[in-house]
């Protein structure tokens, strides 16, 4: 599986995951084989990355860098942010919960030097 930029896309490749635009609208379903027309469609919608089946050689591949994070960093980030969220409705508001989760992730990235 590989995520490649659309500039490197070639006809014949097969989509591993569905392609959506920024609002979540489905453009092409997974398993579709790419043809010339599809390249135009991606350009029309401003799609920059797609996930395709199989391995691609060399520098076409941009893999997600996975960093090992240790318990301590996670706890530290959590604690710090929990304090800041003291006056929010963290327990009852799903939106606030999601914001909290993302902010913890961000803190972890920062503490890990990403």
């Amino acid at each position: 599986m590989a995520i490649i930029t659309t500039s490197k896309l070639m006809p014949g490749m097969v989509l591993k995951s569905a392609v959506n635009d920024i609002t979540g609208r489905l453009l092409l379903g997974k398993g579709v084989e790419i043809c010339e027309k599809h390249l135009t469609i991606f350009k029309s919608w401003g799609i920059t990355e797609v996930d395709i089946e199989g391995d691609v050689e060399g520098d076409a591949v941009e893999e997600d860098i996975v960093i090992q994070v240790d318990e301590e960093t996670v706890c530290k980030a959590r604690e710090e942010l929990q304090e800041l969220f003291a006056f929010t409705d963290l327990n009852n508001s799903p939106v606030t919960k999601e914001i909290f989760r993302l902010s913890v992730e961000l803190k972890i990235d920062r503490l890990s030097g990403v």
């Binding site: 920024i22 609002t23 092409l28 599809h38 469609i41 350009k43 029309s44 919608w45």
Partner: protein, 443 residues
């Protein structure tokens, strides 16, 4: 010399101001008329249910805002999310515009314009013209793109033209949105309509069947009530006639008179019998079922009629299964049924014959255990065209001999009340078989 110069400058300034105000006023008039034209446009668009109609009207209106060379609306193909030219002004320019659009797609301007919500002006790569792009979409969904080419000198892009173009395109987007929704709704409701049509048809035929069933039952009920009423009314005068004849008989010496009075009495008695039959037909006697041995009921019935049958040379043949055959029955009413069947059989064999009575266990179609009793005679049989009528009330082939036509109707009613079945099988010249099934008591 300063004073006059100052005055001139003041006048000059005032004149400039006046020109400015006049110019602005003229522009305002222009814009107000544009706005009122847009109201007309809105009215058309709101009433329209055809997306292409909306787009065409839209293009016409937009041309009045700015002097475009060519303009078109591109829509999104649902199946592969590609863009296609839905309508174009003038028609002949679709290829040219198509090239411009492809160029925009290639260099990313198109995708960029898709994300903005105001008109984008870019120089055309293929000519000296400017290209204007404006996304067609609502917050919910992107629907397409407006594309137009315009000469530089016609490009009066200032605040209000931009706003007007934006408003018009947004109006079109919202109309498209509601038209699409309307079409989806219609498609769904058409499907729902078709299904409910089908259900309706079935319900209609069910209703018809139920109705005729109800009519029959009503008829039966009213006949019943009528019968009971009439029967009671008739019973009295009949009683008087019979009693009267009896008292007269003693004083009669003339043989002719005696014969006549005898016949009157017989007729009265027959009438009384009819009345009784009617009454029992009308009577909705509730059954009081008990667990009974069906064989003993048959034997009790036979004891009532066998003597009379023997007088007519009718032989009873018994074929009963081993063991006790229990059924859940009201013995009086079941006896009434058996008597009726036996008398019918006897009527069919005036010269004599056999009645074979079989009894045994069976199972109902629903699976409940039951008892079956069959009466088979070798009499004259029933005409095929009469078989389906034999259970009808008042149907009889024996009117001359005093038949009321109610016997089998009553019997059928009694059997149905017992949740049993009664069927008749007959062959002309060979005989008739009446089969009764009655539910057995639950173990």
């Amino acid at each position: 010399m300063k004073k006059p110069v100052k005055k001139d400058i003041q006048i000059q300034a005032l004149q400039e101001r006046l020109d400015h105000i006049e110019g602005a006023y003229k522009k305002l008039i222009d814009y107000v008329s544009e706005l009122s034209a847009s109201r007309e446009f809105n009215k058309y668009v709101i009433d329209s249910t055809d997306p292409f109609n909306i787009l065409n009207i839209g293009l016409t209106h937009i041309k009045r805002l700015l002097s475009f060379e060519e303009l078109a609306f591109y829509l999104i193909e649902e199946k592969d999310a590609s863009f296609y030219a839905a309508c174009c002004e003038p028609e002949s320019s679709s290829e040219k515009l198509g090239t411009e659009v492809n160029q925009c797609i290639e260099d990313g301007t198109f995708a960029w314009a898709l994300r903005q919500n105001h008109p984008i002006v870019v120089p055309s790569k293929l000519s000296e013209l400017k290209l204007i792009l404006h996304v067609l979409g609502t917050q919910a969904r992107t629907r397409g793109m407006f594309v137009g080419t315009i000469k530089d000198e016609n490009l009066k892009i200032n605040d209000l033209s931009v706003t007007m173009l934006s408003i018009t395109v947004q109006d079109i987007s919202y109309s498209l949105e509601s038209v699409m929704l309307y079409q989806i709704l219609r498609k769904n409701s058409e499907e729902a309509l078709r299904q409910s049509h089908h259900k309706l048809g079935k319900a209609h035929s069910d209703l018809k069947a139920a109705k005729s069933q109800m009519l029959r039952q009503e008829k039966m009920a009213s006949i019943g009530q009528l019968s009971a009423g009439i029967a009671h009314e008739i019973k009295n005068p009949l009683g008087i006639i019979v009693q009267g004849i009896d008292s007269l008989k003693d004083s009669l010496t003339d043989s002719l008179l005696a014969d006549t009075s005898e016949r009157i009495k017989k007729a009265a008695l027959r009438a009384a019998r009819i009345v009784n039959d009617l009454l029992s037909f009308a009577r909705q006697s509730p059954i009081a079922p008990e667990k009974m041995d069906i064989v003993s009921i048959i034997e009790e019935t036979l004891s009532l009629v066998e003597h009379q049958l023997n007088l007519n040379n009718i032989v009873i043949i018994r074929r009963f299964e081993e063991g006790t055959l229990s059924a859940l029955v009201d013995s009086d009413q079941i006896k009434q049924v058996f008597i009726n069947v036996l008398l019918n059989a006897a009527d069919a064999m005036r010269q004599g014959g056999n009645i074979e009575i079989e009894a045994g266990t069976t199972v109902m179609p629903t699976g409940t255990p039951a008892v079956r009793i069959s009466f088979s005679d070798n009499g004259c049989g029933i005409e095929p065209e009469n078989i389906e009528k034999i259970f009808d009330p008042f149907f009889t082939t024996k009117r001359d001999s005093g038949g009321t036509g109610l016997g089998l109707a009553v019997s059928q009613r009694i059997i149905e009340n017992h949740r049993g079945t009664i069927t008749v099988d007959s062959r002309l010249g060979e005989g008739t078989k009446v089969l009764v099934t009655l539910p057995a008591p639950e173990q």
